[in-house]
Subunit: 348 residues, 2 copies
C-alpha cells in the first residue's frame, strides 16, 4: 500500500485525550515522518503545543478540533494518531473526520474499523474527491513467499525483540536516520500501521492471511532493494510471544535478514499482557532467532537496542546497556537516549 | 466452522481427472470421514470404482457427472474433493455443482474461490434452500490468543513435520482411530481444509489473519477439550519452511501441546517446491520445536511418523523407520504402512 503523502505535504494528527503518552502513532509521525504536521487534535490539551511535550520535533499547535486546525493551515490529510483498545472508531471523532473530508483532506487511519466501510464517510469522500486510507487493510493480491529475499541486492537488517513494544520500530527508524546522516542509502521497510503511516507505504504483516505473511515481507524486500544499499526492516512481536510468534517467524523467514538487532525493554520481566509468561534471558532469544534462521537463511545477532526509559539517570542506563551487550555478546545501546551510531558501526 | 454433515449422512465427492493420486481431499474423505460416499465424480474414470484404486475403504462407483451420481443414490451434499493449483474454481465443474444444488444438496468446498461469492450458485442455493460452505473461509470472530491452551483439561498431541505433505493429517487421523480402537476418548482438531471436511468442523489456520492464528488454535483446543481425554491436533507446514513457518509457529504456541509427533517423508531432501532449501536432519527439527516451545509451554518429542511410500518392500521401509527412530531418539513407525499402535504406546 502506498499513501498519498509526499515529503512536502502536511497533515493534522488526531490524538484526542491521549497526547502524548498514549498516542504512539501521533508521536511516531511527529518524530519520524518526512511530511509536516500542522496541528495535533487533543481536546484535553487545546492551547498547548507539541513542543511542550515532545522534545526535538518541529513544534505545532494542539487544538480542539479539525475546524480549529483548518484555521491554522491548509493540510493535505488527517491522520488518526491513536487507537483505542480493540481498534474501534470513537464516535467522538466523527465531526473531525467529517470536517477533514469536507475540507478536501484525505483521511488516513490504522484502525481495525475501516473508514472505507463507514457509509457516511464513504459517501462524503466520494462527494469531495478525497481518499479514505485504512493502512491496516492488507493488499488483496498477496501470495506465498518464494523464498527469494536473499536475492535482494541490498543488505537486510531486521529488528527483533523479546516482546511487543520493546522499541523495534523506533530502533529501526533511528538506524535509518543515522545511516542516512552518514550518507548511506538506507531504506525503511515498514510492517505495522504506525511505520506505514510514517513511511507512506508498507504492508501490515499482522493483518495478512497467515500463509501470505512471509510472502508480503519478501515482496517488500524485493521491491525496495533496488533503490537502496541497506534495508532496515521493522520487526513485530517476539518469537516467544504466546499470541504473535507466528508473525515474528514469518518476518524472520520472509525477510531473510543478513543481521539482527535484538531489542528489549529494560526491567520488563514478563510478556506484556501475558504476565504468567516470563521473558527468558536475551541470550535465549538470540540463540532461538539465529537457530531458526540458520537452515533457511543464516543470520547473526549484530547488535542490541535496550529501551532504558525506566531509568532516570544516564549512568544507570549506561550500566544496563553494558550488561545487555555482555549478555548478547554484541554491541548495544539505547538508540533514543544515546544515539544509534554504535549500532550502525556494528551493522555497516 | 461446523459443517452440516452427520455420521449417517452421505455425500458425492468431485475429483474430475485427478482421482485418486492427485485427489488428496477425496481420498482423505473416503478413508477417514464418518459420513458415507455414494459416488466419486471423475469423468476420466467413469465406470470404474473406488475399490479399484483405494484399498480398505467402502467401495463406491466412479461416475461422470452429478446427474449420474443422483441416479445411484440420494446424497446430502456434494464435496469438492480436489483443488487446482491456485485454488480456483474449474468452470467444467459448474454443471455438477448446479445439479447438486437443484437436487437439494449442500455443496462443500475448500477452494480459494468461494462458492458463496459466485452469483449463480448463491442465487440457486437460496432458491433451493441449501448451503454453500467454503471451509477455507475462516470465521470472522477470531481474536488473539490469551495463552491459555495449557489450561485445557485434556492431553494435547500436535503433529509437526520437516515440510508440507509429510503426513501430518494422516498421522493425526491414524492416531485418533487407533486411540478410539483402544477405547480412549480421543478428539481430532482439524486445522486445514481436508481435515475440516473429514471432521465436519475446524478452522483453516493458514487462512486466518496472522495475528489471530494462535488464537484460533487455542479456541479449538479449549472448545474440544471438555469432550475428550486426549486431543490430536493436525499440524501444518514446518518451522523451517520458507513460506509457511509462521503458521507452524502459531500452531506450536497456540496449541501448547504436551507432546509432539514429528513427521517426515522418507527420501525427501529438500523443501517441496523450494528445492534450493535442503531439509536439515530430523534431530535439528526436534531441537527447534522443543526449544521454541520451552519458554512458552514445554513439550517433548514423543514419537515419529515416517511416510515410507517411496519404498516398495516392507523390510526396507522398516529399516528406514528404525533409522528415523534412532535419529529422533523416540519410537517411530509409518502409521499407514504398519500401524499407529507403536506411536500410541509412546503417547498415552
Amino acid at each position: 500500500m502506498s499513501l498519498p503523502l509526499d515529503p512536502d505535504d502536511s497533515v493534522v494528527v488526531l490524538a484526542h485525550e491521549q497526547f502524548p503518552d498514549r498516542a504512539k502513532t501521533a508521536v511516531g509521525v511527529l518524530r519520524y515522518a518526512e511530511y509536516d504536521v500542522t496541528a495535533v487534535l487533543d481536546r484535553d490539551r487545546a492551547g498547548e503545543s507539541v513542543g511542550d511535550h515532545v522534545p526535538d520535533v518541529p513544534d505545532a499547535p494542539i487544538v480542539e478540533s479539525m475546524d480549529a486546525a483548518l484555521g491554522v493551515a491548509d493540510p493535505d490529510a488527517l491522520v488518526i494518531g491513536i487507537a483505542p483498545i480493540g481498534g474501534g472508531f470513537d464516535e467522538s471523532w466523527r465531526p473531525d473526520v467529517r470536517a477533514a473530508i469536507e475540507a478536501g483532506c484525505d483521511v488516513i487511519a490504522g484502525l481495525h474499523y475501516f473508514l472505507e466501510d463507514d457509509a457516511e464517510f464513504a459517501a462524503l469522500a466520494a462527494d469531495h474527491g478525497v481518499d479514505l486510507i485504512d493502512v491496516r487493510r492488507p493488499p488483496d493480491d498477496l501470495t506465498v513467499s518464494e523464498g527469494r529475499a536473499r536475492e535482494a541486492d541490498a543488505d537486510v537488517v531486521l529488528t527483533v525483540g523479546t516482546d511487543c513494544s520493546t522499541g523495534k520500530m523506533t530502533t529501526t527508524l533511528e538506524l535509518v536516520a543515522a545511516a542516512r546522516a552518514r550518507g548511506v542509502d538506507a531504506g525503511f521497510v515498514p510492517t505495522g500501521q504506525t511505520g506505514i503511516m510514517i513511511a507512506g507505504w508498507g504492508v501490515p504483516i499482522d493483518r495478512t492471511i497467515s500463509d501470505f505473511a512471509a510472502g508480503a515481507v519478501e515482496r517488500m524486500i524485493l521491491d525496495a532493494a533496488p533503490d537502496h544499499d541497506v534495508l532496515f526492516v521493522e520487526g513485530q512481536g517476539s518469537i516467544l510471544h504466546p499470541a504473535y510468534s507466528g508473525v515474528t517467524c514469518s518476518l524472520l523467514h520472509g525477510a531473510m535478514p543478513d543481521a539482527l538487532v535484538v531489542t528489549h525493554s529494560a526491567g520488563r520481566e514478563a510478556i506484556h499482557g501475558y504476565e504468567s509468561f516470563p521473558i527468558p534471558p536475551v541470550e535465549t532469544h538470540a540463540d532461538l532467532y539465529t537457530d531458526l534462521a540458520e537452515p533457511v537463511a543464516p543470520t547473526t545477532v549484530a547488535a542490541g537496542a535496550l529501551d532504558t526509559r525506566t531509568f532516570e539517570d544516564d549512568a544507570a542506563a549506561r550500566e544496563a546497556v553494558d550488561a545487555y551487550a555482555d549478555a548478547l555478546d554484541a554491541p548495544a545501546t539505547d538508540p533514543v537516549r544515546f544515539d544509534a551510531d554504535e549500532l550502525l558501526d556494528a551493522l555497516l
